[in-house]
């Protein structure tokens, strides 16, 4: 396998949500296969900057798959071709020499475009703000060991709590539904004994907020599960609907 490859990027370019967008093509030579896709974009952006062309805007931060900042469509797929992998963890060795890589922003009514590949995911925060928490306050907590929680219960709660809020589930759904995001939060909290009391109210508030934010109905296509970088199961949506 070659250590360096050439890539052709076709990228969605849009200055702001109010302006029109278009695809632009860029060739990038001598891309090390040891780079991540975002690092290849850094390399391209340095070239563009030197040529006084506006660099491509995309979200990122931790670059280790945990902060949830990054994410766009890579050849039509949220976070690209590798299962359980956030965009920043996708490496160039997964692409062939002279490959065409098409990059587009998440497309969803609730996620207005900020610029190029960057979208406004504030609607996800609003879902949490509407009720995704316990009503405990600092300094009023009982002894942490006063309520036993079985390892199985704790782990099941943890698995849903790993959602990084990237929005891929919404982008992957043809109805742009946030059902998996909401179900994951309800399951994280609702599986713990501390969360039993407010379970119903929390669910009502968050699901109502989904409609207010313009997210669609669950399409039952399971695309959300397929594109989730944390591989959260769509079974939690049924769990949410049942409980």
């Amino acid at each position: 396998m070659r250590d360096f490859i050439s890539i052709k990027f076709k990228v969605w370019r849009q200055v702001s949500n109010e302006s029109n967008g278009l695809y632009e093509e860029f060739s990038l030579e001598k891309v090390s296969i040891k780079l991540s896709l975002l690092e290849a974009l850094d390399q391209l952006n340095e070239e563009l900057t030197t040529k006084n062309i506006r660099p491509i805007t995309f979200d990122h931060d931790c670059r280790e798959g945990i902060c949830g900042s990054c994410g766009f469509l890579i050849n039509g797929q949220p976070h690209g071709p590798k299962r359980g992998t956030a965009t920043c963890q996708l490496y160039m060795r997964n692409f062939k020499d002279n490959a065409l890589i098409i990059l587009e922003p998440w497309r969803a009514k609730s996620f207005p475009i900020i610029q190029d590949l960057s979208v406004d995911r504030n609607a996800l925060d609003k879902l949490i703000i509407s009720g995704g928490y316990f009503s405990t306050e600092t300094g009023n907590s009982p002894d942490a060991n006063s309520i036993p929680i079985s390892p199985k219960q704790a782990f099941s709660s943890f698995e849903t709590a790993t959602c990084i809020g990237c929005g891929a589930c919404v982008a992957g759904c043809k109805n742009a539904s946030s059902s998996l995001f909401v179900a994951a939060k309800l399951a994280h909290l609702g599986q713990l004994p501390q969360g039993i009391n407010g379970k119903k109210e929390r669910s009502i508030k968050m699901r109502k907020q989904m409609t207010i934010e313009g997210f669609g109905q669950c399409s039952n296509n399971l695309e959300c599960e397929a594109v989730c970088p944390k591989e959260i199961s769509a079974d939690w949506i049924s769990w949410m609907n049942k409980s």
């Binding site: 670059r63 902060c67 590798k82 942490a144 390892p151």
Partner: protein, 641 residues
């Protein structure tokens, strides 16, 4: 020593001193709290926890962050866990508290305040209660009680964890508590804002200037006091384990406005990270050091070897840590492991890109325990490594190298977490408090949450109770001055119109800093680093290129503003490293070591916190010191041989 640095330490015994201090702090009625506004900058563990708690108590909070959501702050990346001194038996509580206290002070090599370390240890247990009640899904034992594990530098098991994602789970706990307060109208969120200056009115911090990252506008925020919880500055090295946007700008601007900076050169290097593979690499990913429990670290005995590791026979391998430290072997502390790796790579034995890497080999453990056992232990880590490097670590030895990870240095704060500027509080990694010259593993999350949930809400309330009045006219003038200053600074950078993108300069700065003010330091290298940084900085001001963007959003400008401050901070870090003529913790001066190559402290001259004051009249720095006294614990030397 001088008199103007007053850490406001409690008098008498350090044990229980914080509870006594609280009794003497002033309070406010809930109606009065409603009248006060507080600006909090940063939404990581310390910022979010402080925002949630202060809002619950009745204050009005303005929370500023450059992230699009508070859930993304770099605390989210912390893998290992959080220390807490907890015992089911009341009579054993004092013992476990003492243990954590001792390990914190010893880990920091006696360069932190005893009273603050004691408080950290005393509060630690309540942090776990707090997090569990928020729904943090910590690992559990079969009987349903909380599970713990052992962590580097500790003999006891007291680290609480949620798989390898403890930071994420703790941050979401604080983020959810914060979200509840947003819903109740007590917190106003200002996302996508870079704080670029501090507003000081009559010597009191009363506001900040922020740049709106979406439209590029400069905005003014006013309040009764200001809290900076903006994290660390390891990105001064360009390549580090930090998130890419982590930066020093808010604390550096506060420093330029008069807040003192403590021990800037104290930076921690993590021994087990994936090494760089080429110039466009943007970060170094941390691999939990728990791998050192089952991985043997080695290099080929042959210099400049290009052979595949599988083909190097046993007798041609140098297990250099086991050779040099027969007792601790691969489990020597972080700084020792890092230094030995660097030393041997510098001699030409290193492997991989630029000869900067050593092997961490799991093969013997796999042969002993079986592949399944090793996979179960490190499953997600091994997958992460394979995703990044493209090699299966159960078949080919992993490549690792030390990387900048955490900065103990930060803005100087007193026992109440207030800087020398009245009304300016600094929390978490951004301050200099309990970690001394080297942070103990799993103490970072603990410090953030102690600062945010339990300490600052009490001390901020007390300060506000005694500083109720605001002079609105002077505030407007001060805001205008600061706004003009920032505006000029932004425009000056845009005017340069050179040829090199900002990352070019940042990479070059990082190279100087890591090679001369990183894992080890010496006077000659530090002196030449000072000159090299100055030359590079001049080049930055003449040759920087920021592209025109025809909208307010300009990522290259954001980065340039951060790198500009990293340049100034680097210079102070180097000066601080030169002045501290001893080795302590992570600060290793080659001139000051024992025969065995260990750090040699000089308690007579340097048992103090270096406190740097910026003098704006002649654009220079003055070094003061705050003496450290140890009453509960004796100054001694660590020994891992």
């Amino acid at each position: 020593m001088n008199n103007f640095i007053n850490p406001n330490l409690p008098t008498g015994e350090v044990e229980g001193a914080w509870q006594k201090t609280i009794k003497n702090l002033s309070n406010l009625t809930i109606e009065n709290k409603n009248k006060f506004e507080i600006i909090i900058v940063g939404c990581g563990l310390s910022g979010s926890s402080a925002a949630a708690t202060l809002a619950e108590e009745g204050f009005k909070i303005k929370l500023l962050t450059y992230h699009d959501s508070p859930r993304r702050a770099h605390s989210v990346s912390a893998q290992g866990g959080i220390n807490a001194a907890r015992s089911i038996l009341d009579e054993k509580n004092k013992i476990v508290i003492d243990q954590l206290f001792q390990d914190t002070v010893l880990g920091g090599d006696f360069r932190a305040r005893e009273a603050s370390c004691q408080r950290l240890s005393e509060l630690s247990s309540s942090i776990i209660d707090q997090c569990v009640s928020q729904g943090v899904p910590f690992a559990r034992e079969y009987d349903g009680t909380l599970a713990t594990r052992r962590f580097g530098g500790a003999v006891v098991s007291r680290t609480f964890y949620a798989r390898g994602q403890t930071g994420q789970q703790l941050l979401y706990g604080a983020y959810q508590a914060l979200s509840r307060q947003v819903n109740l109208g007590n917190i106003e969120l200002f996302t996508k804002r870079d704080v670029l200056d501090l507003v000081i009115v009559n010597d009191i911090a009363r506001g900040v200037i922020a740049r709106n990252l979406i439209n590029g506008n400069l905005e003014t925020y006013k309040a009764n006091c200001v809290v900076l919880a903006t994290g660390g500055y390891s990105n001064v090295y360009y390549l580090s384990t930090n998130s890419l946007k982590s930066n020093a700008t808010a604390i550096w601007r506060a420093h330029k406005r008069g807040a003192n900076f403590a021990n800037p050169s104290f930076t921690q290097i993590h021994p087990t990270c994936i090494p760089p593979e080429g110039i466009y690499q943007s970060k170094l990913t941390l691999m939990s050091e728990s791998l050192r429990n089952d991985g043997r670290i080695w290099l080929p005995k042959k210099i400049n070897s290009k052979d595949d590791p599988e083909n190097i026979p046993e007798h041609e391998r140098d297990y250099f840590l086991e050779r040099q430290y027969p007792k601790y072997g691969n489990l020597v502390p972080r700084d020792v492991a890092s230094r030995r790796a660097r030393e041997i790579c510098e001699k030409g034995f290193g492997i991989g890109f630029g000869g900067k890497g050593v092997y961490l080999d799991l093969q013997d453990s796999i042969n002993r325990d079986g592949l399944e056992v090793i996979k179960a232990k490190y499953g997600n880590l091994l997958e992460m490594y394979e995703r990044i490097v493209g090699e299966d670590p159960t078949k080919v030895p992993m490549k690792i190298y030390p990387a900048p990870h955490y900065t103990m240095g930060g803005l100087w704060v007193d026992y109440n977490l207030m800087s020398n500027i009245d009304g300016l509080f600094v929390l978490g990694e951004a301050n200099y408090s309990v970690h001394g010259a080297n942070r103990l593993g799993a103490n970072a999350l603990l410090q953030c949450l102690c600062d945010g949930y339990f300490i600052s809400p009490k001390t901020i309330t007390s300060w506000l109770a005694n500083n109720k009045s605001m002079d609105n006219r002077s505030i407007d003038e001060a805001c205008k001055e600061a706004l003009n200053y920032v505006d000029k600074k932004v425009k000056a950078l845009q005017k340069i119109k050179g040829e090199k993108p900002v990352d070019y300069f940042h990479r070059a700065l990082g190279e100087i800093m890591i090679s001369k003010c990183g894992i080890t330091r010496n006077r000659n290298d530090l002196k030449s680093a000072l000159e090299e940084v100055e030359i590079l900085r001049n080049n930055f001001y003449s040759n920087l290129k920021i592209p025109e963007t025809n909208s307010g959003l300009n990522v290259e400008l954001e980065k340039a503003l951060r790198v500009e401050d990293f340049f100034e901070l680097s210079i102070l870090m180097i000066k601080d490293a030169i002045e501290r003529e001893e080795s302590c913790g992570a600060h290793f001066r080659e001139e000051y070591q024992t025969k065995e190559g260990e750090a040699k402290r000089n308690d007579e001259l340097f048992s103090h916190i270096a406190v740097w004051k910026f003098n704006s009249d002649n654009n220079s720095h003055i070094r003061f010191s705050e003496d450290l006294n140890f009453k509960k614990i004796n100054l001694n030397t660590r020994n891992y041989k």
